[in-house]
């Protein structure tokens, strides 16, 4: 009785569904790497929506949860390799946050492949494409996300 809302779950037929991945890419390395993939005409799945952040350390776990709540099927966060952060240590602090977040979400029962983290440098266009391929495939196997999704 606490809640009086009419929530209807929208259903998409299996053959139409494409995973929707939100990717938080750090401006200096990963975003540049993604850009290089594009410029190099490397083909990779279109399922990724990129959000550029100054540093992977800027990523607040609440962003990932909000993305899932808004209907993302998966989330990717990518930053500079440790030691290469444009802000020296942003990714190092982020590394601890992400390690804990990944454990927490898995403990809570959310499929671990839905939330993935990686390091991609500005020169790693191919690697970026490979990461996206992997994440999209992992999420495709899991199916549409029904956890944390809020239907308005």
């Amino acid at each position: 009785m606490m809640s009086q809302t009419q929530n209807t779950q929208a259903t998409v037929s299996d053959k139409d569904w494409e995973p929707k991945i939100v990717a938080f890419l750090c401006n200096w390395c990963s975003y540049a790497g993604a850009d290089l993939a594009g410029v190099s005409r490397i083909q990779y799945p279109h399922n990724v929506r990129v959000i550029r952040v100054p540093c992977s350390g800027r990523v607040n776990p609440a962003f990932l949860l909000r993305a899932l709540q808004n209907g993302a099927d998966g989330v990717l966060v990518s930053g500079c390799h440790p030691g290469d952060c444009h802000y020296i240590s942003g990714n190092l602090v982020a590394r601890r946050k992400f390690a804990l977040l990944k454990e927490l979400l898995q403990y809570a029962g959310i499929e671990p492949q839905r939330v993935q983290f990686t390091w991609v440098s500005a020169s790693e266009g191919g690697r970026f494409a490979a990461v996206v391929e992997k994440v999209v495939e992992d999420v495709r196997k899991l199916g549409p996300n029904d956890k944390l999704v809020k239907v308005l």
Partner: protein
């Protein structure tokens, strides 16, 4: 009434039926359509007040989809609440003042109120935190109820309080028999025994005393422990403050109402950053004032029914009876 059998199996054809049964945690709560054998009639009161049936914690007011507004459909069926305590039913009259009377007519509240039938079960064993009798109510008060019931040794004594209550009782007339004088006497004795156990609280002249005691050092002393946790307001049967939020995604917007609490530090925070109730002292004082002075001044009614939930559940064990007994004394 001859039998303790609550006619909820028949009522289920008319709508939703809620009656007291144990939940998974083992607490007695208003449960939807419990099987007859799981009904519990020996309980003090529910953890949550039934106000959520009239004023839900989360309620969609409006939806915009693709540029068109959609109103949620009003409830089409009735809801029957059996086993509500007199204090919680009385609280509905306070909520009616806010949501129905005067300039405001809240259609969301009104629709639920119209469609919900309240069957009160009088109290025979009050708690040490109860003080209904001091705030205008009592263990067999029928205010706010459609039907008032008193549990006897073997029977249930019932009386209609409103035309809707009369209609309900006549619809189950085959289960009823006229009350015998003995039954009425037994009921009166049980109620009197309950009344004797309720410790009085000084609410006399509360509006005047609170006016005079606005600057009393009592407020600072008593409110220091307040954590601003919201438990008191959320469990209180008369508290009614709410927040309205528009939640948007794509071309869909949902306008939703949720409970709010004046004890929260952000409750009165202005956009400028100024907060007229900056510390727990101002907020806690306001809480007592609202219930025992402003409501009296505005509606000639106390906005407290003495259910004691705030006292029993406060994590800091605050007790507003202390303030009431001491202010302006």
């Amino acid at each position: 009434m001859t039998e303790k059998r609550i006619p909820h199996t028949d009522l289920r054809e008319r709508g939703g039926v809620y009656a007291p049964a144990r939940d998974e945690a083992g607490d007695v709560a208003l449960t939807e359509a419990p099987p007859a054998e799981s009904l519990v009639l020996e309980y003090k009161n529910f953890r949550l007040s039934p106000k959520a049936f009239f004023f839900p914690q989360t309620q969609t007011l409006l939806r915009f989809k693709g540029g068109k507004a959609e109103e949620p459909s009003p409830p089409d069926q009735e809801t029957f609440l059996f086993g509500v305590r007199p204090c919680d039913a009385r609280a509905l009259l306070a909520l009616d003042e806010v949501f129905l009377e005067g300039d405001q007519h809240d259609p969301y509240y009104a629709r639920l109120r119209e469609k919900t039938v309240v069957i009160v079960l009088a109290c025979t064993r009050p708690m040490s935190s109860c003080f209904c009798a001091s705030v205008g109510g009592g263990p067999s008060d029928g205010a706010g109820a459609d039907v008032l019931a008193v549990g006897l040794e073997a029977d249930l004594l019932v009386r209609a309080q409103t035309p809707r209550g009369e209609e309900l009782l006549s619809s189950v007339a085959d289960l009823l028999a006229d009350a015998t004088p003995d039954a009425v006497k037994e009921a009166e004795e049980r109620i009197r025994a309950a009344e004797d156990q309720i410790a009085p609280v000084n609410v006399d002249n509360s509006a005047q005393r609170l006016r005079d005691g606005y600057d009393s050092p009592l407020w600072e002393a008593v409110s220091q422990k307040c954590l601003g946790c919201g438990t008191c307001s959320f469990l209180c049967p008369t508290c009614h403050c709410f927040d309205i939020t528009d939640e948007a995604r794509g071309d869909t917007v949902r306008r939703v109402r949720t409970w709010d609490c004046c004890a929260y530090p952000l409750f009165t925070l202005h956009a400028s950053g100024h907060n007229p109730r900056r510390t727990p002292k101002e907020r806690w004082r306001q809480r007592v004032m609202h219930k025992f002075r402003y409501a009296v001044e505005n509606f000639d009614r106390l906005f407290c029914v003495g259910c004691g939930r705030c006292i029993r559940n406060c994590p800091a064990s605050m007790d507003l009876r202390t303030a009431l007994n001491e202010v302006g004394a």
